[in-house]
Amino acid sequence: MDFVANFAGILLGGLSAGTVLFIVSVGLSVTMGLMGFVNLAHGAFAMFGGYVIVLSMNRAHFGFAAALALGFVATAAISVVLERTLYRRLYRASELDQVLFTIGLIFIFIAGAIIVVGPESQTLQLPAALRGQINLGFLQYRTYSIFLIVIGFLIGFGISLAFERTRIGAQIRATVDNRRMAESLGINVDRLFTITFAFGSGMAGIGGGLGAEFLGLDPQYALKYLVYFLIAVSVGGLGSVMGVYYASLILGVFDFVLKLYLPKGGTLFIYALTILLLLWRPQGLFGKKET
């Protein structure tokens, strides 16, 4: 029984970390799939949202839900401004310029965070209802982790439902599959992209806030976890919501287990596995093969 409880505990810990990874990365996957834009600054949006959420709770005494909503709106708003003014000029540019541009944005966000908030790490004060432990029948576990897993599942389910059933979801799928054909059918790809970009960045902002409790939140956040976001996206497959969901959960569990049993260099295996997987399937687990 002890073994089962132990195993379940590790699994839940990994799943909750993976959930945060999913919430941050899902927008990156869809926007990269849509436009083929290498947006390394996605982590910076997550950091921005995280700061808005944490600071609005700590300094302005917002409730948790209100802060999350504010984080989503603020991040979505700033991303739309950047997309309309700067990103769109680079859609047809080479990967090189896109990488350079988004690295530049990362630096600006990092410096901005240091200037406005300060270099120290911010801590998220969870509301009383989410602190402590919850009884799952066979084991006691942290309420917040369970909360994250449930929220993540709902978000993943909701987004994939919207992808499959709504008009805009169908338009996104069509554009990811074949952009030129979608454009000729009269889909306004430009507008579609702005909407998905804003939504994806907003989700990243929420993810930054939700994950601040155990990932921490400091100005280096935008760079520190970038590789993880990119692994989740490329392993899951560009433009595939469920792919990113599974990839994030797998990555989260692997990371949790390896950090527990192999504290020194456990991440080595994650990189090695990612390399092997991408060599086996360059398009990711659930991505469509390039034609």
Partner: protein
């Protein structure tokens, strides 16, 4: 003057193509400035040696990224491989002769470059970017794990490097030997690289960058060329890393991290990629700005750097040299042809 005798020469575009590999007078300028720096700023020679290693590193990236169009974010993997080769050989006093150490560093980096290139270069775009990034992270984790041999996070300090040619000793306080030695290594590597990019092999790399399909169609062994190019580029990066370890007399995990890979990427694109001298201009501009601004106010430096990168990506796609060339063609060329 007869058109029939040599019609190719008569074509206005042909002259440029035929003579482009010839040495221009201004190509001696970097080396004159490099020597002048030695006499003019004796207190900054340590900084100068670091700058020269950065130029070499950016040159190596230029071969892969600028000429062959291999978009990699993990070039620090080879820099680090070279640095750790030199560092471990010197720290355990197995081999301390500097020039042969550099050759060994190049060899180790080339082997890693060849093996990883063999599998990575099947992919393109984001996948390639991710794979190069993961390879670098993998090496960094491996170096961190092998703490017993590499010193882990703290690295290997106080490397004892034998005198150059058995005569000129590395002095930790006055870096004049380090500086001239770095300048010499850079010159040799640069001549090699210049010869390479103007050779038929170098031309085929440009062809692969510009039009992959057409190179396949004319029967060019694209994959083999890319792997060879990646291997040579890795070897040059290994030399740069070895040089960095020797002149600093230490090596640590920073040789392998994302920060270093991003920096060399920025340096190259800042100067202008695919044009040999971009590495020089970019490294000087970047290091000078960093050295002086970061001391005054580090946050402002990061903000300024970010704004600069965004500006370059938006308005000056070919870096400083690209802008200079465009200005030259606009105002300089007009004077010549009335």
């Amino acid at each position: 003057m007869s058109a029939a005798a040599s019609p190719a020469i008569e074509h206005p575009g042909a002259r440029g193509l035929i003579t482009r590999h010839r040495l221009r007078w201004w190509e001696t300028l970097p080396w004159i400035i490099g020597l002048g720096f030695y006499f003019a700023f004796p207190d900054y020679l340590g900084f100068g040696a670091e700058l020269l290693a950065m130029i070499l590193f950016a040159l190596s990236l230029d071969l892969a990224l600028g000429y062959a169009g291999i978009v990699t974010l993990g070039h620090a993997a080879f820099f680090g491989a070279g640095a750790y080769t030199v560092g471990m050989l010197a720290f355990y006093e197995i081999w301390t002769e500097p020039i042969t150490s550099l050759l060994l560093a190049a060899l180790v980096a080339a082997i890693i470059g060849f093996l990883s290139g063999l599998v990575l270069l099947r992919t393109r775009g984001l996948t390639l970017l991710m794979l190069t990034l993961c390879t670098m992270a993998l090496l960094q984790e491996a170096a961190n794990m092998a703490r017993a041999y590499t010193g882990g996070f703290d690295g290997l300090p106080d490397l004892a490097i034998a005198p150059v040619f058995g005569v000129f000793e590395f002095n930790p306080l006055y870096a004049n030997t380090q500086y001239l030695y770095s300048l010499g290594v850079l010159l040799v590597c640069f001549i090699f690289m210049r010869t390479l990019v103007y050779s038929p092999f170098g031309q085929s790399l440009t062809g692969i960058r510009e039009n992959l399909l057409r190179m396949h169609a004319i029967g060019s062994p694209v994959r083999r060329r890319l792997v060879i190019c990646y291997t040579i580029s890795a070897a040059l990066a290994g030399i740069a890393g070895g040089l960095w370890a020797q002149t600093n007399a230490y090596v640590n995990l920073s040789a392998l991290d994302l920060d270093r890979a991003a920096t060399v990427f920025i340096v190259l694109i800042l100067g202008g990629y695919g044009r040999l001298y971009g590495a020089f201009v970019g490294a000087v501009a970047y290091m000078a700005l960093e050295h002086f601004l970061a001391k005054i106010y580090p946050t402002a430096w990061q903000l300024g750097l970010g704004l600069l990168l965004v500006m370059i990506a938006l308005f000056a796609r070919n870096g400083i040299l690209g802008v200079a060339e465009a200005l030259w063609q606009r105002y300089g060329a007009r004077r010549k042809t009335p």
